[in-house]
């Protein structure tokens, strides 16, 4: 469970202070599929960095599974990212010239998981993310954009995180491939009850989530669940 209480983030550049987030509070329960939406400069990236334990807020508290991580050190944050969060980024998601399987096993290396167990877990995640077994030993640079994002989703799943954070995961994809990736998130949310937080600036993309938090100028404008949800139906 995620609980954000009165979070403020201020960036200081010389004499000029810029408030990216102003007194933001919300709660996300386990198993929710939330989209955090907003135009560029709205503070949604800053929100994602804080939720992803890549950064800490200037003030306020951030409870992740009951633990206040807002004052954690670099190494403590690394542990949080390792154990509780899975990332899917817009670009540069995979290590170049490295096989699909190795890419997915990467988080487990930092988690001291025994070698035999790693491959098994990676295969399971890849199948859950909808990857064909035939691609497991392909190098990452031989994959299409949609396949890369599926591998990235598999890697985000592999350490059994509390939340999966996806930062513009369809930003580099065409509409059709983007739909497939979003469908994968929906499936994981529904079938495995994973918490998914999707960061996007596109309304079309946000509509795939159950709940949309709209941010502008560092503040929550709307937080609604009553929109017309777009559901992707999978063929397989």
């Amino acid at each position: 469970m995620i609980e954000v209480k009165n979070i403020t983030k201020t960036y200081q550049t010389g004499d000029i202070a810029f408030q990216a987030l102003k007194d933001v509070s919300f709660k996300i329960d386990d198993g929710e599929f939330v989209a955090i939406m907003g135009p560029s400069g709205s503070g949604k990236s800053t929100m994602m960095h804080i939720l992803g334990a890549l950064d800490t807020p200037t003030s306020g508290k951030y409870f992740l599974d009951g633990k206040d991580v807002s004052k954690f050190t670099d190494d403590e944050l690394a542990d949080i990212r390792k154990d509780k969060i899975g990332f899917v980024f817009q670009s540069f998601n995979l290590l170049p010239r490295t096989t699909v399987l190795r890419n997915v096993m990467l988080p487990l290396i930092y988690d001291q998981v025994p070698k035999e167990e790693r491959e098994e877990r990676a295969r399971k995640s890849l199948l859950a993310a909808g990857m064909d077994e035939g691609h497991f030993l392909h190098k990452s640079n031989q994959l299409s954009g949609g396949q890369i994002q599926r591998v990235a989703i598999a890697r985000a799943l592999v350490n059994n995180p509390t939340i999966i954070l996806a930062d513009e995961p369809t930003g580099n994809l065409d509409t059709k491939t983007g739909e497939i990736v979003l469908g994968t998130f929906q499936k994981l949310n529904k079938e495995q009850n994973r918490t998914i937080i999707l960061i996007t600036h596109e309304h079309d993309v946000a509509e795939h989530a159950d709940r949309i938090i709209f941010i502008r100028d560092g503040q929550i404008v709307t937080d609604k669940k009553d929109h017309q949800k777009r559901v992707i139906h999978h063929t397989k």
Partner: protein, 407 residues
């Protein structure tokens, strides 16, 4: 992160850019190889000089006549050319200095030596029976000069093997033949065993005659050009050296030791002096080679800094999925150390090869010592750590957000 995983990551990272990795390692290879080769050649030179000196006899103390200084700064005669040492000095040393195992006097000079139809210019050494013991000379055929020869002023000669070949040709038996030194006939009674060229004083190219004969018929006086003393043990050498100095000062009636008309040299001093020279040269050579090692290290640092910049986004990604600072530092540090380790390994092999070729071509007998290998290896590992640390810590300090955004 297990060490095995780090090594696997390192391998794939280094193999991703083979040419760059190869060139960077080459810098270390050249550095290490030249350090090893230079040290082994230097040590080879040192041991060859030492053994060359020691082949002239062990625990030697040599007394040579010094130039007598004329008062008021007149012309000084060359050291060793002066006539200040007599056979009686040698006898006095033998009887009154403790710890003398053997003693021999020499009067040497170069003469044209002729046999039937041939002649050669060589050193004629007037000496006594003690010479073989002091100077490590062995007789191949015939006999060496005896006390009887000295007493009788016998006109007999013992030839060095080189001289024997020069005068009588290969394989001929010179024993009983007649040679002429300064138009005086000598009968050959022996040939010494070959000792191999020993640099300053080739003992294979010599003619030995009795000292008394040399003094009477060749020099016409009773002086000697060198007295060589063999000490019973190495520990006693300094004591014997000073005893001899005191004795000769007294005998020559010189009160001021700085005005001594002779020089007493300790063989160990000569070895030590020459060793200092060769080890200084070795250090110089190794230092030059060491500079190339440092240049190689800078090459590593350069490559690692480039790598860190190139892989900024990879570092960001690794951090995002849970890599700690320590993990990133270790990964890049081990990459640098792996480069120097491989470079060190190849460099040691190459340096060893160079040393072997130098030995094989008979330029100098080199010896690769374990200490130089360990030194080179330690230095290369240290270079990897020192020059790899800065890029590695820079990588580990990258903020994951900035690193992921890096274009």
């Amino acid at each position: 992160m297990h060490i095995f995983d780090i090594l696997e990551e390192t391998y794939s990272a280094l193999m991703a850019n083979k040419v760059r990795t190869f060139l960077t390692v080459l810098g270390i290879v050249i550095g290490i190889a030249s350090v090893i080769a230079m040290i082994s050649i230097g040590q080879g030179a040192q041991s060859s000089i030492t053994s060359s000196i020691e082949s002239t006899g062990s625990n030697l103390i040599m007394i040579t006549p010094g130039a007598q200084r004329s008062i008021g700064g007149g012309v000084n005669t060359g050291r060793g050319a002066a006539k200040t040492l007599k056979s009686t000095d040698a006898e006095a040393i033998k009887t009154s200095v403790a710890g003398v195992q053997a003693i021999t006097s020499e009067l040497s000079s170069r003469y044209q030596v002729a046999a039937k139809g041939t002649n050669t210019n060589t050193t004629v050494d007037g000496t006594d029976a003690g010479y073989t013991a002091v100077r490590n000379i062995e007789i191949d055929t015939g006999t060496f000069i005896t006390d009887q020869n000295l007493k009788n002023l016998s006109k007999v000669a013992v030839l060095g093997p080189t001289t024997a070949v020069d005068l009588f040709g290969d394989g001929a038996d010179p024993i009983g033949q007649i040679i002429k030194i300064n138009s005086i006939q000598f009968k050959v009674i022996g040939v010494t065993k070959a000792k191999g060229g020993s640099g300053f004083n080739n003992q294979d190219d010599k003619v030995y005659i009795p000292l008394s004969t040399a003094q009477k018929f060749l020099a016409g006086d009773e002086y000697v050009s060198q007295i060589s003393v063999q000490a019973a043990s190495t520990d006693q050498m300094t004591q014997i050296q000073s005893d001899i100095t005191d004795l000769l000062l007294e005998r020559h009636k010189i009160a001021d030791p700085t005005a001594a008309d002779f020089t007493v040299m300790n063989q160990n001093d000569i070895v030590a002096a020459l060793s200092t020279v060769t080890s200084t040269l070795t250090i110089l050579l190794a230092a030059v080679a060491g500079i190339s090692l440092i240049v190689g290290g800078i090459g590593i640092m350069n490559m690692m800094l480039t790598t860190v910049t190139e892989r900024t986004r990879e570092i960001g990604l690794r951090k995002a999925i849970g890599a700690k600072r320590k993990d990133i530092t270790l990964q890049f540090l081990i990459e640098a150390v792996a480069l120097t380790f491989v470079g060190g390994l190849v460099g040691v092999a190459l340096g060893w090869g160079i040393a072997y070729v130098v030995s094989y071509l008979n330029i100098i007998q080199t010896s690769v010592s374990l200490s130089s290998v360990l030194l080179a290896f330690g230095v290369s590992a240290a270079i990897g750590i020192i020059f790899g640390y800065y890029p590695a810590s820079r990588a580990s300090k990258l903020n994951p957000i900035d690193a992921l955004r890096y274009e």
